[in-house]
Structure formats: C-alpha cells, structure tokens
C-alpha cells in the first residue's frame, strides 16, 4: 500500500482524556476538509467515540493559513 501523505501529526502522549468515554485519547487518523480539499492528518482521537481534538495552536496556526490560502484559490 502506498504511504499516504500526512500533513500534520500530533501525539496526545496520554495527557488528554475523553470525558464521555473516560479513556485517554490516542494518535489517530483524521482528515481536514475545506472547499472540497482534503488533508489527512494525525490528531488526538478518542478510540471509543471518535472525538477529534483540534488544539488551539493548530487551529490558529496551520489550519488558519491553509484556510486563507484555499479561500483565494
């Protein structure tokens, strides 16, 4: 299988817990979608309910800059 490009990866290192499922978040596969463009990433994800956590630094940093770039495409 061809290795898929992952645009961003972050490991929760056991510091994040899903409050609903009471289990630690792990590094999981996620995807950002915007204006019909997809970006595979690895983010903290709850293994039970699938809650994907987008940290503040990521939202205001990389995510924002990609949004802006796509908006003007």
């Amino acid at each position: 299988m061809a290795t898929e490009k992952t645009y961003y990866t972050i490991d929760p290192e056991g510091k994040l817990t899903c409050m609903k499922c009471r289990v630690p978040l792990h590094k999981g596969k996620a995807k950002f979608m915007y204006l019909d463009n997809g970006f595979p990433v690895e983010l903290p994800v709850c293994p039970k309910c699938g809650f994907v956590y987008v940290p503040e630094e990521l939202a205001l940093g990389k995510v924002l800059s990609v949004e802006k770039a796509l908006e003007d495409k």
């Binding site: 510091k15 609903k20 463009n37 802006k68 908006e71």
Partner: protein
C-alpha cells in the same frame, strides 16, 4: 440561518468584469501616468521633469545625460532652443514658470559629458550629407549616433568653421565645445568641397542621401518634399526647410527616422510611432503652492534654487486622501487592471482578493479625482462578480452578514405607534445605532412619537448595506424585498432615517419618501434636554452623505445651535474619508481599517462629532473624544465601546424593552438552565477572534446534550466544540457550581473528521 459557503476550489468558472473597451475607458481616466506639461510640450521628448529634478538635487551630470539623450549637440540646442515647455509650465499660472532652457544650459555647463560609447555595430547602409546648415549638422549627429557610416561634403575647411557657419550667435566657448564634439563623432568630412556638384556626382555611391535645403534647391530647383518625413520622394533625397534651433533639431530627428525607414526600403511615412509634442491630460493641484519668480542660473547654487522651484507636476489626488490606496500604494489605473486580471483567473491564487475586499467603497476617490475615477464601483463590481462565479470566500464577510441576518430576524422589530391605525412616519435608526447607543435610539423614538403628528412607526433592522457591500446581490435583493414588504405593512410611511447610509440605501427602493432625522429635528426644533456643547469640534462627514450637501449643512446647523464651534477640517464634506467601517473593511482587513480611522483622525485634534454611529464608534475606539449628533440632541451618551457580543445584546434588549414599555408585549426569556461566566482574558479573546457569547452558549448547550468533551491534563481545562454553520467553535472551560467558567475560545472553518 446559514449562508452558503463558496463552491469547491475545483470549480473553474469565470466571468469578465467588463469589456476590454470599458477597461480602457476607465483606465484612461487615471492621469497619474500622463506626462508632465513640460515633457509633453517638447517635440524632442526631453524628460524635462526628471532633468529639473536632477538639477534640484545638484546632480548636473545626470541632468546632462538626460539632455544628451535627445540631442547630439547639447551646447547648440540649449543655447538656442525656443523652449515651448516654458510656456506650458504650471507655475506660469501663479507667477513665473521654470526657466527650463537656462537649466539646460546649466546642465551642459556643469554636468560632465556622457562617456557612454555606443555598443552598436556600424550599419552597412552608408549615409552622405551635402552642405552644412543647422538641420544637416543635427542630422549628421543623429545619423552618426544611429551608427550609420556618415560622409559630409561641405564648403568649410574645418570643424570650427562648420560650427560657426551653422550657429553664428553661439557664444565662443560653446562653439569650441561643439566643434570638439563634432570632431569626436565618427563622421568623415570632405572639406572645401562644392556640395552641389558633389551631390550630382557622388550621390549614387550612397544608400541614404541627405542635403541642406540650399544645396538641394541648387541641384533640384523647385523640388517638393513631404514635410512630415523630410523626404523628397521623387529624388529619394532627405532634406527640408526648418526654422530656428528647435525646428532644426526636430527636423533632423524626423529625417533620421526617415533614414531608418529608407534603409530598410520601407515607406518613410509608415509606422513611425509618436513624434513631436503631445497633449497631456495630467492634472496637478496647485493648492498650497506659492507664486515665485525665476532665479538667474548664473551659479550652480542658483541653478539648483531655480530647479527647486519646480513642483514636479503629478496627480495623486486620490491617493493623498485615501488610506486604502496608500496601503496598497497603487494608482487606480494599475489597481483596476490588476483587479480585472484577478477576476479573469480561472484557477490558482487570486492575489487581488484582499485588495478587492479591503476598499471601504466610500467613493471618496470619485470626488477627489479630477476625472471622477470610481475605484469603489470597481471593487464593488468585482465582489459581485466573485460571488456570481462562486469565487468569493465567505470567511471575510460571514460575521458581518450573520450580524445583518440577526438584525433582520431575532432583533428585528416593526410596529406602528400604539393607538395609530396608520402612521405618517416610520423611524429607521439603523443597525449600528441600536448596537452602540440603544438609549439614544429609545429617546429619539419616544421624542418623535411625542412631537410628530400622524403617528411614528418603528423599524429596527438593517437597511441592507451590509450584504450590498459584501457583493451578495441575491441576499441584497431579498433584503430589499423583505423591507419593502414590512414598509407596505405599515402603509409605506415616510421613512425617518437615523443613519446617512440607511438613508442612501433605502432611498434607492421604489416609491420611498425618506428624510434624515436631522431634517425633522431642524423642523420641529431640538428637545429640551438637548445637551449644549460649547466648544470647538470637528465634524466628520459620513460617507453615506457624500454628495448630500443638504445633510452635511443640516448637521452643522444643529451642532451650532447646540453651541458647538464647528471647525473646518481638510477633507470634509464630499471629500470625507471613510472611518474604516464602510465596505466591511473593518471585517476583511483590520490593518487597513485602522489606517482609515487614523487618516480620519489626523485631520484635527479636536473632539469629533459624527452623524453615523459606525464613525462615532471607530473614533472612540481609537481613544478620541467622539460623539454622535443624536447623543448631544438627546443628552444620552453611549459611554463605552461595546464588544461584538454587547452589540448584539444591545439590539436585542432594545427591541425587547421597547416591546414591553411601548407596546406592552412581554418577551419570554429563554432559560439556559446553567450559568456561564467568562474570564476577562476570554472576553477579550472572543472579541478579537470574532466569537460571540451566543456561539459559546450554543457550544455549551451542545455539550449538555452530547457530553462530548475532553480533559487536558496539562492545562487542567476541559475542551468542547460544536459545528455551528460553517465554523467549528472550541471552548475551554472549567465547571462551576452553577455551570461553566469559560477560559478560552477559538474557531476554525475547516471540517475535521476521522478516517
């Protein structure tokens, strides 16, 4: 309600902004790149303006280099040029124009001769000149410069004699210099010749045959020439009769160009390009320019002083007044072309989206420009165009558009005055007044009800300017329709607008009678509790009142009635700049909006009196003492600048309180079932990040329903999120006894999912 996000970036649609002809017709209005009056007057196309600028800086060598570009004999030309440029100098209308010819002499005198040698290879076609007069002398120089091998048959015996014969009045020193430069030119002289018999005998040996007018007439009496190209077609002879030094120099230029055409066996009259002096459309503002008189250019310093009188004619009327144009540092002509191209891009980066969305659409440029260049219209058209092709991102405008939706739904109110079946008037205060100064709106409405005959209805909402500014034409049409229906329900009363932008916007609706509240107040007089303000103030004219002199005057009269000493500021009235709110600049580009506000405030150090609540708010935020006319009139001041959540809260509370107090209708408050507190940091952060308290409430309600949140062991904060429309909002909180304490909030537009 959700506003639809733009389409996929992979949809390749495009629509022309306007035709190429219209583009050109617009571009031509911008005269910034038109030549200065002196440059345009010079048939030899001297960059006079640049030459004078070089002398003003003391760079005589640079000035001389510019001068040498147009003539092989700078001494001769500068000494005798008739200088039509001087009469065209803009300073002539005030005092004395620049002594251009004297400055040319100065450049030649104190500047070093250009050492640049032509790197061109010698041409193969050979040129010959018979007889030396001023025209053929210049022509010999021009042809040598063009790298033709040149041979001259003349009656004189040496260079000095040639120069003396051609330029009898030239001072000795200049004659010597000219003779020296003639000697340096790569021209072969046949001295002591009889040019007329030489022409008859030797002309066939050469490709390009030129003769002085006298010699040509000796050989071919009564010959006819085409003056425009200095050629006798019948004899294939380059010659002509010229008058004066400039005439000879210009004639030689034309003849040299004809030589080029003939060398290629082409008709000398075709495709010659622009020759001679031209008309310029330049505009130059002489405001603040003092009349002055010529300084004799007898020393370097005096020549510099004379050159320094030059005002370097140019037109920057629009850019001087507009923070937006200054920010992008582009003249409308260039900006238009780039926007036109941007709109035509099918795929790839649209670099001009930001400038298109940063214009305040205030229309100041159309007043400042001597030709009425309307950048606002172009930016507005471009926005509509982008919306129509699905290329307009929603992100820059969504907050403002949702704010408008809020104004015209949850916070909307339309009621007749209690006890009236029909109302003569309806008060329309506008979305900014209700958001920023609700107490003033309330006082104004109650006053109008009290003092006007015939009933005054009330309509709280947005006039539609917001979606119009965003280029959302469908939304705008719907808004117009909605408001028209509501007006019809009231029996189409005369609208009393509280805001000049609303007045302008609503007056475009069909069958509308509209007045500004200021006009009513002038008619019925000011209320008793009107606050006198006995001090000097600066009036900031709203962009909504551009072209509405009656409104501008009315505001000033009311201010004066209240004791204000209205001091005139630059860029007032129709020339007024935008406060930074207009055109949604405040939402699309805070940096430019701030510059716009600063530009407004730099005009005066006095407290500002506005008649648009958005202006009042923008100025107050910058720390200036700022008030709205209605705050004075009703003695109610909006004491602090509300944040984005307070603006919504204010509108809603005003609506609900008026419903309760005036119409005796109770509005049921929705119970949340939990308390929300915010840290001061969260409040500031939310305002900055355009996150409303109502967004946070919805996220926390979602949390209550789903229980979806995570705990971050590092910060000790819980984090939850909800997708609201096109945006995902995240809230960091701690639980309290009664509900939540919000610590941070952020958002993103991208959708995230597991894969």
């Amino acid at each position: 309600m959700i506003i639809k996000e733009r389409e996929s970036t992979h949809v390749y649609r495009q629509k022309r902004l306007f035709t190429k002809e219209e583009l050109e017709a617009r571009e031509v209005l911008c005269v910034h790149e038109q030549p200065a009056y002196c440059n345009a007057a010079c048939p030899l196309k001297l960059d006079t303006k640049a030459m004078v600028a070089a002398i003003a800086e003391g760079d005589f060598t640079k000035a001389r280099a510019l001068y040498e570009k147009i003539t092989p004999f700078p001494h001769i030309l500068s000494a005798g040029c008739e200088a039509p440029c001087e009469g065209k100098c803009k300073l002539c209308s005030l005092g004395e124009g620049i002594a251009v010819r004297e400055l040319e002499v100065a450049a030649v005198r104190w500047g070093e001769a250009s050492k640049k040698r032509g790197l061109l290879r010698k041409k193969t076609k050979k040129a010959v000149l018979y007889g030396m007069d001023l025209f053929t002398l210049f022509l010999a120089g021009e042809l040598a410069k063009k790298m033709y091998p040149v041979t001259v048959f003349c009656a004189q015996e040496d260079y000095a004699a040639v120069i003396a014969a051609c330029t009898a009045d030239l001072p000795e020193e200049a004659q010597a210099a000219s003779a020296a430069s003639l000697a340096k030119m790569d021209i072969k002289f046949e001295w002591n010749a009889d040019p007329a018999s030489a022409l008859a005998e030797t002309a066939l040996k050469y490709d390009l045959v030129c003769a002085s007018w006298e010699v040509a007439n000796q050989v071919y009496p009564g010959l006819e020439i085409d003056e425009a190209v200095m050629v006798c077609r019948e004899k294939k002879l380059i010659t002509g009769k010229t008058e004066g030094v400039l005439g000879a120099a210009f004639g030689a230029k034309k003849a040299a160009l004809s030589a080029d055409r003939l060398a290629q066996n082409l008709d000398p009259a075709n495709t010659r390009g622009e020759e001679g002096s031209v008309e310029t459309k330049l505009y130059t503002n002489l405001e603040g320019v003092e009349p002055s008189v010529r300084v004799p250019c007898d020393t370097k310093e005096n020549a510099m002083a004379e050159a320094q009188r030059c005002i370097q004619c140019h037109c920057d009327e629009c850019i001087k007044g507009c923070a937006y144009l200054q920010h992008y540092n582009k003249f409308p002509r260039v900006l238009t072309r780039e926007i036109y191209n941007n709109v035509s891009i099918i795929m790839g980066d649209h670099m001009m989206n930001k400038p298109i969305n940063a214009c305040s659409l205030c229309g100041q440029c159309s007043v400042l420009c001597p030709n009425g260049y309307d950048m606002a219209e172009i930016c507005h058209m471009a926005r509509q165009n982008m919306v129509s092709t699905g290329k307009m991102p929603l992100a820059p405008h969504e907050f403002a558009l949702m704010d408008m939706v809020f104004s015209n739904s949850e916070a909307f109110l339309c009621r007749k005055q209690p006890g009236f079946d029909t109302c003569k008037y309806v008060f329309f205060p506008g979305c900014q007044a209700t958001a920023i100064a609700p107490a003033t709106v309330r006082a104004a409405y109650l006053d109008l009800c009290n003092r006007l005959e015939g009933g005054v209805a009330l309509m709280l909402g947005c006039c539609g300017a917001i979606c119009d500014w965003a280029g959302r034409y469908e939304m705008h049409e719907n808004t117009v329709k909605f408001l028209n229906e509501k007006m019809a329900e009231l029996g189409n009363p005369t609208i009393i607008a509280g805001c000049p932008t609303c007045k302008k916007e609503l007056s475009t609706h069909e069958n509308v009678e509209i007045l500004g509240i200021w006009e009513i107040l002038e008619e019925i007089g000011l209320p008793e509790k009107a606050k006198r303000l006995d001090k000097p103030i600066a009036v900031h004219d709203a962009c909504g009142a551009r072209g509405d002199t009656e409104t501008q005057q009315s505001i000033r009269r009311i201010a004066e009635t209240l004791g204000c000493i209205v001091e005139d500021t630059p860029y007032s009235g129709d020339k007024s700049p935008c406060c930074g709110y207009g055109g949604l600049t405040q939402f699309t580009n805070r940096e430019v909006a701030k510059k716009m506000t600063d530009k407004c405030l730099e005009r005066s150090g006095l407290p500002y009196l506005s008649y648009c609540m958005a202006c009042r708010d923008q100025f107050a935020r910058e720390g200036r003492e700022s008030m709205h006319l209605l705050e004075l009139v009703y003695g109610t001041s909006a004491d602090h600048c509300p944040d984005i959540s307070e603006k919504r809260f204010n509108r809603l509370s005003l609506r609900n309180e008026l419903l309760k107090d005036v119409w005796k209708e109770e509005v049921e408050e929705v119970e949340l079932g939990f308390a929300i507190d915010y840290t001061p940091e969260a409040i500031a952060m939310m305002d900055n990040r355009m996150i409303l308290k109502t967004d946070v409430i919805r996220v926390l309600q979602n949390l209550k329903e789903t229980g979806e949140a995570i705990f971050d062991g590092d910060s000790g904060l819980c984090v939850t999120r909800a997708r609201l429309g096109n945006v995902t909002f995240w809230v960091k909180y701690t639980e309290t006894e009664t509900g939540f304490m919000v610590h941070r909030a952020y958002s993103h537009r991208m959708n995230v999912q597991t894969r």
